[in-house]
Every structure is written in C-alpha cells, then in structure tokens.
C-alpha cells in the first residue's frame, strides 16, 4: 500500500430508515492527512453517512474500506475510527487528564506511555494547566478541545467530526476551527467533517462534497466547487442566485447582480428588503414568478426603498445542470443576461 492510497474509501454506500432511502450510492475517498468536508442542508444524510462509516448504523449496501480493508463487518470499537459529536460527551465525573487517558488505558498501554500521551495531547490542544479540571469547570470550546484530545489519544486512523462547532459561541468559533485544523494537521490524521455551515466547510476542507437527499452531487477542492457548483441546488446552497439562462439554469453571484431603473436590465423585480450587513449592502428581491434573489455590494450609496421596482442585470454567470428534483422550479420567464 503506497503513501498516496486513500485512508478511507466509501463505495456505493446506501442506507435507509425503513422504506425511506437516506443515502443513495455515495462514493468518495479521503487521502492521508486530508480533511474531507461533507456539506449539505439538514436532513441530507450527512450524519447517517458518518454513522455508517463508524459502524453505529448498518448500511443497506456498499463498502467502507479503511486502509484498503473492508471494515463493514467489524464492530465499532475495532474499526479504529474516532468520532466527535456536537456535544463533547466527556465523562462528567473524570478530570481532563482522566478523560484523555481513557482510550490509552483501554489499549493497555504502560503507565508512563499513558502519561506521556496525555501530556502530549494536552499541549497539542492548548490546555496545559487544565489537566485536573472537571468538564463542568470548562467552557464549551475547552470541552470540545478535550474531546479532540481524547479522540486523538486513541490513535485512530481516521477522525469523523459531526458538526463539532455547532454549539460554540460565534466569537470563539473561528479560533476553534483554526485550532482543530492545526491540531489534525500536526497529528497527520485524516478526517471527515460534517457541517451545514457553508463558510466553515469551504474554509476547513482540503476537499468538499455537497450532499443532497442522500446523493453526493459535487466533490472537489473548495475553490473549484464554489467556482463551478455543477447543479442548481448546489449553487443555491453555496449562496448563488439561480436564474434561467438561454440553455438552462445559471448561477449568478449576488455580488455580480446589478440594480438599475425599471426596464433597464434583463428583468424587473420588486425590492422586499434592503440594508447593511456590515461590510456590504444586501438587497432582497422578488422576481415576477415569486422567486427570491439576493444582490450584494459595497455599502456606499443610497439603498433602494422597499416596494420599489428595479431593473436587474448581471455580467457573469456559471452554467449549471438541473438537479433531478429541481425541475418544478422552472416557471421563471427566460432571462437574457446583459
């Protein structure tokens, strides 16, 4: 097995809750040291996918290979896959050090080795001096760091992270994300992060996969996925306006949408709301068939009034394919970009 072979290979994985399919033949690889991000809206199957990989759910079809070995027949505790959840799920009655030492002790490592492992992990996640605290004496971010240290101390081949930053204060979230990325890189461990937070996923992932209704619709490096979303619903999820172009749906970046007097653009729309979000202005529009659009731009200049009719045009768009389930949204009149 070469060093470039994938650590995790998911092949045609399917899962269902009773008769309802949750995952539909999902396939992807995760390389050594890579962070693969699974993006998708709530209910798209992200968590089920992680649970199938780690062994907490049984898939209805497909394979999960870890270092080339099919692990589907192995119980959870023998797979060597770490899992971190939204809740840190620390042992409430154990100290930070005891929580981190849990897996090394289960693995019957020597006392000195366990102590060294704890010291190494505590230092790696920046919690030196917190060793004797109990979970109820830590902040949410500190608890998540302990959970990461505890996961890494088990020396897993792969770490799965299920929305680990969802319950963290927004001010601390950015720091914690960067910290997690740094720690996982330093440990050289491959990981899969699940999130519905688009900027978080694009920021952290070496590659991202966008999941809709149990199907992986787009996989690639973050920049490539953002620049070429592929399908209309991936484009919408990534924040694009989707308009009907001459030969099918097209994605228009809200920053590329220009507003002018009525009848000056490709089509007219009504202003639903307008305001400043900080670094930019945001105008929410409603087209003739009731579809909503966003226009973003620098905050300078007067804002349009609510209820005002404006002409809409754009200079750049990206061609898309239609998602199988998005055909019903095709009632907007044909648009001709300026």
């Amino acid at each position: 097995m070469s060093s470039s072979d994938p650590v995790l290979r998911v092949e045609g994985l399917s899962a269902a809750w009773g008769p309802a399919p949750v995952l539909d033949r999902v396939s992807f690889d995760v390389g050594p040291g890579e962070m693969f991000v699974l993006l998708g809206p709530n209910g798209s199957g992200k968590t089920t996918l992680l649970r199938c990989v780690v062994g907490l759910e049984r898939p209805t079809g497909g394979r999960v290979r870890l270092d080339g070995v099919d692990v589907l027949g192995q119980p959870v505790h023998r797979r060597g896959i770490g899992l971190m959840l939204q809740e840190a799920a620390l042992f409430p009655h154990r100290t930070v050090a005891e929580n981190i030492a849990y897996a090394p002790l289960l693995q019957h490592r020597g006392r000195t080795e366990v102590e060294e492992e704890v010291a190494r992990q505590v230092e790696l996640v920046g919690l030196t001096g917190f060793e004797d605290r109990r979970p109820d004496q830590l902040s949410g971010g500190e608890r998540q760091r302990v959970a990461l240290a505890r996961t890494l101390a088990a020396r897993p081949r792969l770490v799965l992270l299920d929305e680990p930053f969802a319950a963290i204060d927004p001010e601390r979230k950015a720091d914690l994300r960067a910290e997690f990325r740094r720690v996982l890189r330093a440990a050289g461990i491959s990981s899969v992060l699940v999130t519905h937070d688009r900027p978080e996923g694009l920021f952290l992932g070496d590659r991202v996969g966008v999941l809709f209704d149990g199907r992986l619709e787009r996989v690639g490096p973050p920049a490539a996925v953002f620049e070429d979303p592929g399908t209309d619903r991936v484009a919408r999820f990534l924040g694009y306006n989707v308009v009907d172009g001459p030969s099918g749906p097209e994605a228009v970046d809200p920053r590329d949408l220009r507003l002018g007097p009525p009848a000056s653009g490709a089509w007219d729309a009504e202003v639903l709301a307008a305001g400043i979000t900080g670094a930019e202005r945001l105008v929410l529009l409603q087209g003739s068939a009731g579809r909503r659009y966003e226009a973003r731009g620098p905050p300078a200049g007067p804002l349009p009034r609510v209820g005002e009719r404006v002409g809409v045009r754009w200079e750049r768009s990206i061609r898309l394919r239609e998602s199988p389930t998005a055909k019903e949204a095709k009632n907007e009149p044909g648009l001709n970009p300026a």
Partner: protein, 539 residues
C-alpha cells in the same frame, strides 16, 4: 421582606397542611408515647420485647428479600423498556403502573387464587404450593407491586443515559460491555437502586400481605403497630414502636429521595434506539424477561378478575356479584355495598382535589425559584417516611378529640389520603411544569396580559395534561388506599377496600372476589383515563 413573603405564599399552604396533618400529630404522639414509656429503660423494654423484635426482623427480612428480588427481576425489563423502541412499548409502560394503583388486598387475593390451596397454578404445579403461604406468599405479593416500580424507575434511568457518551466510548475502543460499565450503566443503576429502596420501604412496612397471607408470626412493624393500637389497646407501645420505625427507615427513605432526584437530572439527550439489527442474544434475553414480568402481573390480575366472573360454589355465573350486592353482605358489613362505593369515590375525589390544589402552586413556585426545592423535598419525604399506619394512628390520636369524635371520621380519611397522595401528585406535576419556559409567559405579559392572565393563557394550557394526570393518579391512590382508611373508618364510612378486607376476614370469598373485581375494574378504568392521549406518569 414583602417580596420574600409574596414568594413564600405559594408553598405556604402545602407546608401548613403537612405540618398540621402529618408532622404535628406525629410529633405529639411520639413525644407523648416516649414520655409515658417511663424513660429510656421503658423505651428499651418496649423495643426489646420479643414480639416487637420479631416484627422488626420480619420487616427487615421481608423488605430486604422483596427489594433484592424486585431489583433482580425488574432491572433487565427496565433496561429493555427504557433503552429500545418497540411496538406497544408505551402501552406496556402504562400497564406497569396498574399494580401500583391497586389496593394491596387485590394482589393478596391474586396470590391466593394462583398459589393458595386449590389455586390455578398449584393445580398444575403442586410444587409451587409453597408460594401460597407464609413468607414466600408475602414476598410474591410484594413483588407484584414492586417489580413494576423497579422496571419503571430503571427505565427512567436508562432513558436519561447519554447516548452520545456511549457512542463515543465505542469509537474510543470500548466494547459493548465497557460502554455499559463506563457510560450508560450508571443511570440504570441509579434507577434500579431507587426502585430497590422504594421496594424495601413498601415491603418492610407492608400491612395487608402479612395480615392475610401469614398471620401474627409474619407481622411487620406496621402490622404490629396496628395490632398494638387496635387489638391490644396499647397506644403508648404503638407510639414508641412507630417512633423507632421512623428512625430506622429514615436511611432508605433518604436514599430513595436522593436517587430519585438524580434521576430527574438526565445526563444526555433522551434518544431511544430501535431494536438492534439482528437478534442479539442479550436483547432477546431482555425481551423474554420483560415478557415474563408482564405475564406474571397480567396472570395475577387476570386470576382475580376471572374468579369474579366464573361460577362460585354451586351458583351460576355472576353469583359472586349477586352475593356482593345482596342483603347478607350489607348486614355483615353494616353498610350497603353501593354506599361503600359512594364513600370510596367521595373520599378519593376530595383527597385528589386537596392534593392537586396544594401541589400546583407549590410545584409552580419551585419551577420559578428552584431554591425552594428542599422545602418541597420535605413534603415528599414526610408521607414516605411515616407510613399509612403511623399517619392514621397520629391523626386519630391528635385530631379526633379536637374534631369531635366519630363525626370527624370522614375528614380524617380524606386528609390521610391527601397526605399520602401529595408526593405522587407533586412528582406527576414536575415533568409537565418543567417544560414551561418563561418565554411564553413573558410574551403574554409584553402583549399586555397581567401576571394572572399570563398564567391562565400561556402556562395553564401547557400543563393541563399534567394536572389531569396528577389528579387521576391521586384519585387512583385514594381509590385503592386501605391501610390508613381501615385504621380510621367506622362502618358508616366503609370504603370498598375496607369492605373487601371485612369479607375476606369473614371468609366470604365469593363476595370478596366480586369486590376485588369491582376495585380492579375501577382501577383499570382510571388507568385507561390516565393513559389516554399518551399521558405518562412519573413515580
């Protein structure tokens, strides 16, 4: 100061009620009895008498044996009920409450119907005749009451276990047994231990089973106190023994309260799981054990019901009912059976009304100011510790002279039933009240509602189900209450459970079976009303 007084107001009625109708009478009876005993030597002489010693030993043996076996039988079923989702789970959960709502006399009759001389089980398996009398019969009756309690409390603990922690332990390399030991086992043990303590208390202080299934040689302290006061007319000795009993059972009562409070603080999100993919041997064993427990409870209750419907003696079907409502029974009881039914309903309704009216403002006040929890803890604690006989003895001794002799009987019966129902009414209200948030009330107030209108419009609709549950639960407890009522009533105010005891004592088994069937049907009707709309009762 005014704020403190206004804040204390909602808990004041319940505290005053418990002080007046439990703590004060009990304290007066204990102090009087200890004073009349002639000092420490008199007390030790009373406690050292062979019959009192034997009663204490019986209590400890019956309580310990019943608690141990109840945990052994109830724990696996509790884990199965609390951990997995399966069709009919909620029905089973509700069904497990039925024995607790039943008068102990029905269970005693059930044990006799199955294991007594000529019992249905003994007919096919004569070796089990040993279960039909003496200590085994008492323990069997105690188990019917208490195994379902252990199941329910263990299930509550299991439901509160952190699924996240369990899954994390698995991914850290812990095998299923390790995950049980380190992650989800603890809350189940807390639930089972709470059930064990409660079983110990209920069994060590049981009254009807030793009286009817064994006799004086098996009397518990509770039965001995009754016997000293009512048969041997020695109220001082009864008072001293009651005081000693309260001290001795302080520890298990405290243990139960501490554990049940821990159960109220779940460690994880309440996510139950479907049954595992393939038939895991452990899960199959748990399912079989649960089915066995259910079958035992249903068989026992079914035996009582069947006995009321099948021909008795040489008569035709339904002759048991004719006997029950016939003139001979009325003559024997000193009151007609319809009057006993009316008495039962009036007492239970009044007691439930008092319990709920006192419990609602108190539980609501604790919700708004959790620091008041310990005060309410005392209210929960007092009836648990006192036992029905001690309560009835104290009420009769202290209040009867003040209220005017036998005319006060009905007041004391209602008060005793209300005191005994209070802890369970408070527990039933706890869960629905805990779902109340300030947001709804504050929104209503911000829209112009007064504090009272906000309570009526925002809070009350959300706890209406909980209120009904608490009222029905308290009503059901009053319906089946036997021990305290038996101690207090005169023939004119006889209730159905007391009439049933009288019929058993007179060896009128056919009429007794019909009375038991009547009580069983009433209890099942209340149980059905309790569980309508998926309502759930917390112990």
């Amino acid at each position: 100061m005014r704020t403190v007084a206004r804040d204390a107001l909602p808990v004041l009625p319940i505290v005053v009620f418990v002080v007046l109708f439990a703590l004060l009478p009990v304290a007066v009876v204990f102090v009087t009895a200890l004073g009349n005993a002639g000092g420490w030597s008199g007390v030790t002489s009373i406690l050292g008498s062979p019959l009192n010693q034997r009663a204490l030993e019986n209590s400890l043996v019956q309580g310990g044996l019943s608690a141990g076996l109840a945990v052994a039988f109830g724990y696996p079923a509790g884990v199965f009920v609390g951990r997995y989702t399966w069709p009919g789970r909620e029905v089973v959960r509700s069904l497990l409450l039925v024995p607790f709502l039943l008068p102990s006399l029905i269970v005693v009759l059930g044990v006799e119907d199955l294991f007594g001389a000529g019992g249905w089980v003994v007919g096919s398996l004569p070796g089990l005749a040993v279960v039909g009398q003496g200590l085994p019969a008492i323990v069997a009756a105690n188990l019917v009451f208490n195994v379902p309690l252990v199941v329910l409390l263990t299930a509550a603990g299991t439901e509160g276990a952190s699924v996240e922690l369990e899954e994390t332990v698995r991914t850290l390399g812990g095998a299923p047994a390790r995950a049980y030991w380190d992650a989800w086992g603890r809350p189940t043990w807390v639930g089972a231990a709470a059930g064990g303590f409660l079983t110990f208390l209920f069994s060590a202080l049981s009254f009807a089973p030793p009286l009817l299934l064994c006799g004086p040689r098996c009397y518990t302290v509770e039965a001995r106190i009754w016997s000293l006061d009512q048969i041997l007319l020695s109220p001082n000795e009864a008072g001293v023994l009651a005081a000693a009993m309260v001290v001795i059972f302080l520890l298990p009562a405290l243990g139960y309260l501490v554990l049940v409070r821990r159960l109220a603080r779940p460690t994880g999100t309440r996510v139950r799981r479907p049954l595992p993919w393939s038939g895991s041997p452990v899960v199959v064993a748990l399912a079989v054990e649960t089915a066995t427990v259910l079958l035992a409870v249903v068989a026992l209750l079914g035996a009582v019901l069947a006995r009321t419907l099948l021909p008795t003696g040489g008569g035709s079907e339904g002759s048991a009912w004719d006997l029950l409502f016939g003139p001979a029974t009325a003559q024997r009881l000193g009151v007609t059976v319809p009057t006993t039914i009316l008495n039962t309903f009036v007492f239970a309704t009044a007691a439930a009304g008092i319990a709920v009216v006192l419990a609602v403002p108190a539980a609501y006040a604790v919700l708004r100011r959790p620091a008041r929890g310990p005060t309410l803890g005392l209210v929960l604690f007092v009836p648990l510790l006192l036992s029905p006989v001690v309560l009835a003895l104290s009420l009769a001794t202290f209040w009867r002279p003040l209220l005017g002799g036998s005319g006060s009987v009905w007041v004391l019966v209602i008060v005793s039933q209300a005191v005994l129902a209070l802890p369970f009414a408070l527990q039933s209200l706890g869960l629905p009240l805990s779902s109340l948030t300030a947001a709804g009330r504050e929104s209503a107030q911000s829209l112009g509602a007064s504090r009272f209108a906000a309570f009526l419009d925002a809070d009350l609709p959300r706890v209406r189900g909980g209120l009904t549950t608490a009222a029905l639960f308290a009503f059901a407890l009053g319906l089946g209450e036997f021990t305290a009522t038996y101690f207090l009533v005169t023939p004119r105010f006889t209730t159905v459970p007391v009439a049933l005891y009288g019929l058993i004592g007179a060896r009128q088994f056919a009429a007794a079976d019909a009375a038991a069937g009547l009580l069983l049907l009433l209890s099942v009707a209340v149980f059905l009303a309790l569980t309508v709309g998926g309502r759930r009762v917390e112990l």
